[in-house]
Amino acid sequence: MTLHIVATNTPEFCALNQSVTETGNDDCGGISHRVSTLSRTAETKIELVAGGLAPSGASRLVLLKASADEYPSFDVEYWDPAPADFAWTPFYGGGSIPLPVSALLINGQPLIATATNANVGETLIALPAGGTQDIALTAYPTNQNHYSFNVQAQDVQLHILANGIDLSTNTPEFCVGQQVIFTAQFDPPIDYSNIVAHWHLPDKYVNETNQSFLLESPYPTVYDINQDLLTNLTTSCWYVNGTGGTVSIGMDLLLPDGHSIPVAAKGNFTVYRPTLSNFQALDNGFTWNSPTLQGQMDWSTTINSKYDGFIGVTQLLNANGGVYDTDGEDFLDGNTEIYGEPNETNGLGEIYVTNNIATHTTIFDDNPSSVAAPCVNMVANFKDYIRFKPGVAGDTNIWITLGTNGWTMDGQACLVIGTSYTNLPPASTPINTDEFPEWVGVRHE
């Protein structure tokens, strides 16, 4: 629903009383001289009508700008002809002496001077959509009680911007892993003392990163949702799953004059999540080349993404006993979070370019091996996180898991007798998950 004020130039309606009192009628040199005193009182109010559907419960934020101008004494205490008798009474024009903002009240609230004119004050009010409200205007002039009001009402829109895109007019799409920055913005800008805001974002996202402390790097990054980060005018997050939906913000706006106003806004966006397809178990097994027992695991999968980015696999291993023993804990396998990445300084894996299909498939290769002295036992469970990071090098996007698969090895060999048993079946087909990998130790190469 689009809300707007249907009457920005609000009609003044006054409980107006006006009378003329004759205070003299004498002959002055043959000329009849009469003194008339005009009395005019007005309870000044404006009627503000807010657009929108009345039952919606939505509020309209209205910026009122007001000024008052006092009439000069000459205009008030004048000679004939009396304004009650003639149309050109000076009261038909506005006053000509600006009153300071401090002399004005709207609904009993003082006004804040605008930046451009110290004699024009402004304040915010909230109106129920579709409602009508009388706005009481009061001035405390310094000379006498005759002044004119000028009041303008302007609809204040609260817009939500997502990465700079206005959600009141757009429904943008964001890729999982892409940092999305939501900003609440008032149009026109307004002055406020403080804001207590709360964002509501559709599932599924994270908005905080923490680095786990381990004795050796690379350290796993732990992602979670920090509610405290959802209370500012700007908040950011990374989507990991879902289709998007409605983002909203509700806030209590504390104004400089001390009163607070509830305000809300919402908008829609969609989330895109790449998929995996065409998984193939390419090769698997053990080979015994005395004194080395070596395993082999190769699989491939295709990533389907509308967005450019990077592909990588994070491999965790978990073993009880044998040369890969991790005491049953998950360890990162390798020197980098992205397995097999030769560039340890950026660790960005393989590039994914949408218009080059040769970059869409990744092949995972691992050759665990160990030397028998005199025997070797290679037993471990491996879990592979197939991951995608949209964007370019150096941006603030994060790696997202598209799926996980697993494989196991269990082989034993001795120098004297050769292999006792070798079991290294093909890797399992990936399952769709957004789980982040976490580890408590690192098994370096």
């Binding site: 070596q294 491939s300 030769p342 340890e344 393989e350």
Partner: protein, 194 residues
């Protein structure tokens, strides 16, 4: 679609401009079954010209439908790269450029190849990764057109001091015992400093 992509690659691989004394060429063989290219991140395909602040990607792709496996050296030992200006004067490397210019042991009999990670490609599956931005690796002080030479080093199975192409596949890999480093010819592209 794959046919179309391969056709485009075939065009790019043959780009070689001989207008100058030094040919500009964006794709060269590393071995007879592997092609090394410098790739634009904007197009995802080999290019002959980059801006000095542009991220350049490198690509290795096979020449057949067979899976081709090789071992990647650490990044700081993988590339031999040089930049020259229009007077053929070499541009000095920045600290990062020097740090990534280590020379590996070029012996043809590297045991313990499991220290290096295997990479697998095919004619339709590339291994494309970040190379660098020239501005990060060189001290380029003047605007102009430069030429960047890059060679790639990889580790492959060797027989009689020569790459064993038959051994560069998944099935044969575990029987390999000897490995060596091979170095490609240089790709040569233009770098524009604005």
């Amino acid at each position: 679609m794959k046919t179309k992509i391969l056709f485009i690659y075939a065009i790019f691989f043959t780009v070689a401009l001989y207008g100058n004394a030094r040919p500009i060429i964006n794709s060269v063989p590393v071995t007879t079954n592997l092609i090394f290219s410098l790739v634009s991140g904007k197009t995802g395909f080999p290019s002959i010209q980059f801006n000095s602040n542009e991220m350049i990607y490198r690509s290795l792709i096979g020449t057949s439908t067979n899976y081709i496996k090789y071992l990647a050296l650490p990044f700081n030992k993988t590339f031999d790269f040089h930049l020259v200006d229009d007077k053929n004067k070499e541009v000095p490397k920045a600290a990062r450029g020097l740090a990534n210019s280590e020379i590996p042991n070029l012996t043809n009999h590297i045991n313990g190849s499991n220290k290096f990670k295997g990479q697998v490609v095919r004619r339709d599956i590339a291994d494309m990764r970040i190379l660098f931005r020239p501005d990060e690796m060189f001290v380029i002080t003047n605007k102009g057109v430069y030429e960047l030479d890059v060679r790639i080093r990889i580790c492959v199975p060797m027989t009689n001091n020569a790459p064993d192409y038959k051994a560069m596949n998944l099935r044969q890999w575990l029987s390999n015992t000897h490995y060596g480093v091979v170095v490609s010819n240089p790709v040569r592209v233009r770098i524009i400093k604005e």
